[in-house]
Symmetry: C2
Subunit: 157 residues, 2 copies
């Protein structure tokens, strides 16, 4: 089931007031998309991509590539992580962007988002600000990526 | 420190390339805002508000009120939970809206967001789809609210 079909069906259910939450078919559609996607990670340095690929490998998902793109502008927007993902969608031919940045206003912590080539959000994970949890960046990114994938039903193999 | 000041300072840091992540002052500004806010929760029934208030009470935050508002349209948007929060911002005089809904496309799970009266995101938490975790709604909302507050440094008293 392609997302267009998921979204069309879910919209009819919402409109008719019969929507009961996400379905297995919708979640499987997200898994299929991720498994078959050309993935990029926009970033200033290579560290995040390596960590993300470590997690993707656990689920037999092909590795992401590093996308060199200027995302400085994203921090001026209302949702910096989402803005960063959209900048990458607009400047690459990837099917899937995994982007990480601030969730909202300064102090709101971080957000790691999986976005498709139409800028739609497939899954995500949040963490507290670095200054609150004091863990190394690599560990936080690892946990966020794992959480985002488990959220849409991926199981470690 | 008001959010306008947080945002202005952080923007200068981002522009100058000196931003090192969230600061304690920014996080304290979010805590102060939440502690002194008139809070509403848009919702079809009262259940979520009761659970949210149970968590707010643990941190000595005054209770939220239920806001009766039609949020059906939100599920047609790219980020239903965010759209729901904005509908409540636009139709109430609350300082803070706590809204919960779908994160992104069907299958992407849920998102609980704290939004201020200017539609800015202060904190949030995500959960997998109900069909993945199979917990009662009350328990999920409880955990999300707790996580969102702990994310911005609230500690149980
Ligand atoms: C620019 C930026 C910012 O200001 N805050 C955060 C959250 C944090 O401090 O952990 C992030 C991830 C970020 O990219
Ligand atoms: C309308 C709607 C939807 O389609 N999916 C979800 C996530 C879930 O199933 O847990 C939510 C919270 C929701 O409000």
């Amino acid at each position: 089931m392609a997302f267009e079909e998921s979204i069309r069906k879910a919209s009819i259910q919402s409109y008719e007031g019969t929507r009961k939450g996400d379905t297995i078919e919708e979640i499987e559609a997200i898994q299929n998309y991720i498994r078959n996607a050309k993935i990029v990670v926009p970033n200033k340095n290579g560290i995040k991509v390596e960590v993300i690929n470590e997690v993707l490998a656990k689920f037999n998902i092909p590795p992401a590539e590093y996308l060199q793109v200027n995302t400085n502008y994203a921090d001026f927007s209302r949702m910096p992580a989402i803005a960063k993902a959209m900048i990458a969608v607009d400047q690459s031919d990837a099917d899937l962007v995994i982007a990480r940045g601030r969730l909202g206003i300064p102090g709101s912590g971080s957000f790691l988002v999986f976005m498709d080539s139409k800028s739609r959000i497939l899954t995500a994970a949040t963490s507290p600000s670095h200054i609150i949890h004091n863990q190394p960046l690599e560990k936080t990114v690892y946990k966020e990526t794992l959480e985002a994938l488990k959220k849409v039903g991926f199981k470690e193999e």
